[in-house]
């Protein structure tokens, strides 16, 4: 490329701006051991081959390790989930039932037998309290009560109250 008159080349600028640097030889001052470049290609190729083999072996070992580790973690996770589910299932089953639910499971005959054996005296006021409470309940849920339960006990109590039947009347009944 032609140089325009009056414009300095890079080299001329360099010479003007950095005369000391320009005066130093650009010869490479570094050296290497004898025959270094004759042996380097073989050394490098050998190293590449070795690394290749090691990588293959490592690859197999690594894959195996990952598989075992992966399997172990999967197994641990599944076992953990199963343990948590079991824990909650056991807790749910062992929760105490309410007295009402328990009482529902006891047949009337057993209750009557128990009362016959153990209860000698029932106060009228207690019976009345129970009956009032039951009546209120039955009024609130009358529709449901009719369809859901037999209502035998409640009917009896209601009947006894409505007809002014006392305990002695029941006792004296043949």
């Amino acid at each position: 490329m032609d140089k325009k008159p009056g414009i300095l080349s890079d080299n001329e600028v360099f010479e003007k701006d950095a005369p000391l640097l320009h005066s130093i030889s650009k010869e490479n001052p570094f050296t290497v051991p004898d025959n270094y470049f004759d042996m380097l290609p073989s050394q490098i190729v050998d190293r590449c081959r070795t690394e290749n083999k090691e990588q293959k072996t490592l690859g197999i070992v690594e894959n195996l390790r990952l598989f075992v580790l992966g399997y172990k973690w999967r197994l641990l996770t599944i076992t953990g989930c199963f343990a948590v589910i079991c824990f909650f299932a056991i807790r749910m089953n062992s929760r105490p039932q309410s007295y009402q639910a328990m009482a529902q499971n006891i047949p009337d005959s057993v209750i009557v037998a128990h009362l016959d054996k153990n209860v000698t005296d029932i106060s009228i006021s207690a019976l009345e309290d129970i009956s009032v409470e039951t009546q209120e309940k039955s009024t609130r849920t009358s529709a449901k009560t009719v369809s859901d339960s037999t209502g035998t006990d409640q009917d009896i109590i209601a009947y006894l109250i409505n007809n002014n039947v006392t305990v002695s009347d029941i006792e004296n009944e043949p």
Binding site: F14, D17, A18, P19, L20, L21, I24, S25, K26, E27, N28, P29, F30, T31, V32, P33, F37, L40, P41, S42, Q43, I44, V45, R47, C48, R49, E51, N52
Partner: protein, 183 residues
């Protein structure tokens, strides 16, 4: 000396399993000196430079098959060599737990004791001046001053604009000149 095979033939040979080792041997023979001197000027010590050069070619071996030829093989090799050298210095800095100045001083001391340095006092002074530059500026200076690589090619290797490279070189020259004057 064996005739040099061109890059595309080398790459073709490398892709064939039976000629891979031979192709790689030829590739190393062809580029070893340029790669070595590029690394050596950054690392200074021969033993360290030797390790880095081996790592560079190991990386080349691992990635050559997937080399897309978007740039020339030479540019690609140069880029790997530069990055590996910078990584080496970074690791050295991290291991020493010292700031930039100390690594440059340590490289300077290596230069004093280096049995593979044949330069005279003024050349040693120049190398010491170069060592005061930041890593990237040092690389730019070495590429331009010693190897006379074109800015366009340097731009591809260092992934920096031509303008930035010119400015970097200009600053480096001024700093070195100042160092030579005062020391």
């Amino acid at each position: 000396m064996a005739e040099e095979v061109n890059d595309s033939d080398l790459l073709e040979m490398f892709r064939v399993e039976t000629t891979r080792n031979h192709a790689f041997h030829m590739l190393v023979t062809k580029y070893q000196k340029r790669v070595y001197w590029q690394v050596r000027r950054i690392i200074i010590d021969h033993e360290d430079a030797n390790d880095v050069v081996q790592n560079v070619f190991l990386k080349v071996w691992k990635n050559l098959e997937s080399f897309k030829e978007a740039s020339s093989l030479y540019t690609w090799l140069y880029r790997i060599a530069t990055n590996e050298s910078l990584t080496f210095l970074k690791q050295k800095r991290a291991n020493m737990y010292v700031p930039f100045d100390s690594v440059s001083r340590s490289l300077s001391r290596k230069l004093e004791d280096d049995s593979y340095f044949s330069g005279d006092a003024i050349q040693k002074k120049l190398q010491n001046a170069i060592l005061t530059l930041p890593d990237k500026q040092r690389i730019v200076f070495n590429m331009k001053y010693f190897e006379n690589i074109k800015y366009e090619q340097m731009s591809e290797i260092l992934d920096t604009s031509v303008g930035a490279l010119k400015a970097s070189y200009h600053h480096a020259v001024k700093k070195i000149e100042a160092f030579l004057k005062t020391n």
